[in-house]
């Protein structure tokens, strides 16, 4: 898929909260036979943070890099599976905070961990059809894992905002995108339930790998790109093993995956995961480099994007905090503090 008009990323910004829960704290509470956790630590939101507040900060970073008047933004879309309200949009609060109201499309998107890239594809289409000049797509989550469940090690917080606009203003041009979707029941949450359910090992081959690799291969074939021509590749990161193996199966080197692989340090940012990896890659990329980005959302589907960075990138990289700045800004917490920050301690 490719929009009618050339479009790209004119501004981008990530956000990772300050607190880290080491995997050793979870295994201390819930010993499971001495296995190492799937990540070394995960990012945890503070007491006053949620998908709204984190989206606002990422959006402000994207605007700082783009340097445009926020009133020119024609769409603010937030993809998440942890919107603070069941009914009342996250996107209107974000749009108000960044000064994009009132002449703006605003909506919340839902597709498990690919809600953010779904919003990004729609923004590429809306800008690429000429309906709006700029569209802001955000993927952000403050994920909850059931205590003692394997997901508790990885369910983390963070995400990114991507401001889509005309290609001539872009730091990275969109060369094309592919979606690959089937009805695959690997992970779900019913209304009113606090924690998601998952199908254990079924989340691997039929879900994550089948969709991620199919989308990646189809996009590379459409664009005529060989894997060795990619400077950077970013996958959805539910743990460290899945994206690493997906990269290996595509023939990618450790170096091609290095900039965008964040899960070892922050866990799985759900709808924010591959977008945050893309932002980390943009933070460190040079002009005229090819970037492959592949999301995955349970239920299930993958969106793949081919980006080529432009000469405008270097001057905008330092106009806002980088993902590495946020990762370096960390304070480790223990399991009791984690429960307090996640609202699990009943006060009344």
């Amino acid at each position: 898929m490719r929009p009618a008009l050339p479009v790209g990323i004119v501004g981008y910004g990530g956000y990772v909260p300050r607190y880290r829960l080491p995997a050793s704290e979870i295994s201390r509470l819930w010993p499971s036979g001495g296995e190492d956790g799937p990540v070394s630590s995960k990012a945890v939101p503070g007491l006053d943070e949620d998908t709204v507040t984190m989206s606002i900060e990422a959006a402000r970073n994207a605007l700082d890099r783009a340097g445009i008047d926020p009133a020119q933004i024609g769409a603010v879309w937030v993809g998440s599976e942890s919107h603070p309200y069941a009914v009342k949009p996250t996107s209107t609060i974000v749009a108000e905070a960044i000064g994009a109201v009132p002449h703006v499309l605003a909506a919340d998107w839902q597709f498990a961990c690919k809600a953010g890239t779904e919003a990004l594809q729609a923004a590429l289409g809306l800008v690429g059809s000429g309906m709006v000049r700029y569209g802001l797509a955000i993927g952000m989550d403050a994920a909850q894992g059931k205590p003692s469940d394997a997901l508790e090690y990885t369910a983390a917080a963070g995400g990114a905002a991507i401001l889509v606009g005309p290609a001539e203003e872009a730091v990275a041009r969109c060369e094309g995108s592919v979606s690959y979707v089937t009805d695959t029941p690997d992970f779900w949450r019913r209304p009113g339930r606090t924690y998601p359910e998952h199908a254990g090992r079924f989340t691997g081959q039929p879900a994550y790998f089948a969709h991620s690799l199919a989308a990646a291969r189809e996009l590379l074939a459409e664009l005529g790109w060989r894997p060795d021509e990619l400077a950077h590749a970013v996958f959805h990161q539910p743990n460290v093993r899945f994206p690493t193996q997906a990269g290996q199966q595509l023939g990618l080197s450790r170096q091609q995956m290095a900039l965008g692989l964040l899960s070892p340090e922050i866990g799985n940012a759900y709808a924010g995961s591959s977008l945050l990896g893309l932002v980390a890659a943009l933070d460190g990329a040079a002009p005229e480099q090819r970037i492959l980005q592949v999301s995955f959302g349970s239920g299930a589907g993958s969106d793949a994007f081919g980006w080529i960075t432009t000469p405008l990138l270097p001057e905008r990289q330092q106009l806002a905090s980088t993902v590495r700045d946020y990762i370096a800004r960390q304070r480790q917490i223990d399991y009791a503090t984690y429960l307090r920050y996640r609202g699990q301690i009943v006060m009344e």
Binding site: G46, D48, Q318, S321, T322, M347
Partner: protein
């Protein structure tokens, strides 16, 4: 906070929008109808940059309703670089690390929620200006 006051204060809470008096140029926050300096009508919105420093602060142990779960926390008088002095909670900082003159920047965070069924109120807080790691 009622729905009406929530709605009325949305721009000052979420985007730090105050006023600049069109008569005497006084910088005002929060916005008000009459300029306290020259008593003329003040209606010109001004979008503050959100950068300032800690003018004074106090650590709160006995918190008001809906803020108990934050205690202990720091409330500060923050002097914006444009001039106004405002009261706000500090966040992402340990109380022992706060000092008068500390450079801070505005962030939008959860202020309070009206129980599990009511509105969630978002608004400005301030945090230490984050350090930047070296460029790649």
């Amino acid at each position: 906070m009622s729905s009406s006051s929530h709605w009325r204060t949305r721009r000052q809470r979420l985007a730090l929008v105050g006023e600049q008096c069109p008569h005497c140029q006084a910088m005002l926050f929060p916005p008000r109808d009459i300029c306290p300096s020259c008593h003329g009508p003040a209606k010109e919105p001004y979008h503050y940059g959100g950068v300032g420093s800690v003018y004074s602060f106090s650590e709160v142990y006995t918190a008001p309703d809906a803020y108990e779960h934050y205690a202990p926390y720091v409330v500060a008088l923050v002097q914006l670089e444009e001039g106004p002095l405002l009261t706000a909670q500090l966040t992402d900082v340990e109380p022992e690390d706060v000092y008068v003159g500390m450079p801070v920047e505005m962030v939008t965070r959860r202020l309070r929620a009206e129980g599990p069924e009511g509105l969630i109120s978002y608004g400005y807080k301030f945090r230490p200006v984050p350090e930047r790691v070296a460029a790649h």
